[in-house]
Point group: C2
Chain length 186, copies 2
Amino acid sequence: MPRIGLDLPTLIQAAAELADAQGLEAVTLASVAQKLRIRSPSLYNHVNGLPDLRRHLALKGLDLLTAELNGAAQGQTGDAAVYALANAYLAFARKHPGLYEAIQRAPDGGDELLAAKSGELVGRIVGALSEYGLKGDAALHAVRVFRSMLHGFVSLERQGGFGLPLGLDATFQMMIEIFLTGIRKL
Amino acid sequence: MPRIGLDLPTLIQAAAELADAQGLEAVTLASVAQKLRIRSPSLYNHVNGLPDLRRHLALKGLDLLTAELNGAAQGQTGDAAVYALANAYLAFARKHPGLYEAIQRAPDGGDELLAAKSGELVGRIVGALSEYGLKGDAALHAVRVFRSMLHGFVSLERQGGFGLPLGLDATFQMMIEIFLTGIRKL
DNA sequence: ATGATGAAACTAATGATATTAGTTTTGGAG
DNA sequence: CTCCAAAACTAATATCATTAGTTTCATCAT
């Protein structure tokens, strides 16, 4: 039994790589343990079972995504900020499909940390849309619509729901355009 | 061994009820067999394993959804048709969350029947948007954007991604409005 | 140096699942 | 009434998560 020196970040990193390469379904305690050259019960020294491992993946995904969005929106304002945010969101989902899926499938009921990180991400979007003079409920609705569009596109694209992948980037840009045109009319 | 007289439609119906009540994850051969008071290996007389069962759920979901959309769009034209389609889509996803999930998670690679039914559904949407004078690629993009919005909203709503469920219907209506405003400007 | 301690690995065992193989029963066609 | 194929069954295997209990070793206090 050589002492490997495994720690939580290394474990989550291995799981994240598996998720991004083969999908979240492929992340089992058995597969992660095999990748780390360890027996699966040993993982319980770092993580509280499969649900907890998935939760950590979601947390890592939220951290990464938030960081990407923050970086992309740096110094941008108005339409440029919205486009930057949207494109960074799409880029993240394409680069980290497994982590993206982990974010979506995380049950946020009662999980304070998860809710906080999730709220931080939404806050970034709220900020970008705050310049459009939307008042009260309209602002809330606009943020929800924006998120729906982004997530719907990413989700359909990943699942191959669009058929031929031709012109997907153009579709995405047009979607943002439609959104901006729409909310200016409100 | 009393002969139960189980057939494929009954089996799929039982699985669909389980899916809608407890989520697609809860649909296992074991759980379906228990609901039918049968041993799980017996299911192989009707279905070719769990993946095949999931496929049948997706097919049933597509049939139901397409029927709902067809009914809702009957005789409607223009904006009314788009609203009717969107609302029927949302209503279906709320009423049949398990079947909706089954549709999304179905791998359509190489499955002709699945692809055909999927195409039929998309065709219904194409029809509703054909009156807006979109030419060539623009029409393709518009359909994709519409589907992204619908799916994104439904998906986030189901997962609780919007936080408080307050005003979700208003958000949805505004989303359609934004879409229609946007594509008229093209 | 050395020895105790606790963390981190292990083995063993249990229970759920899907799946395959082979067996039994029975409803219905001839 | 007989036979047969379909539809149920039992038995067995493999994979997975999880729990319990065991061993080892790195580190820190002596």
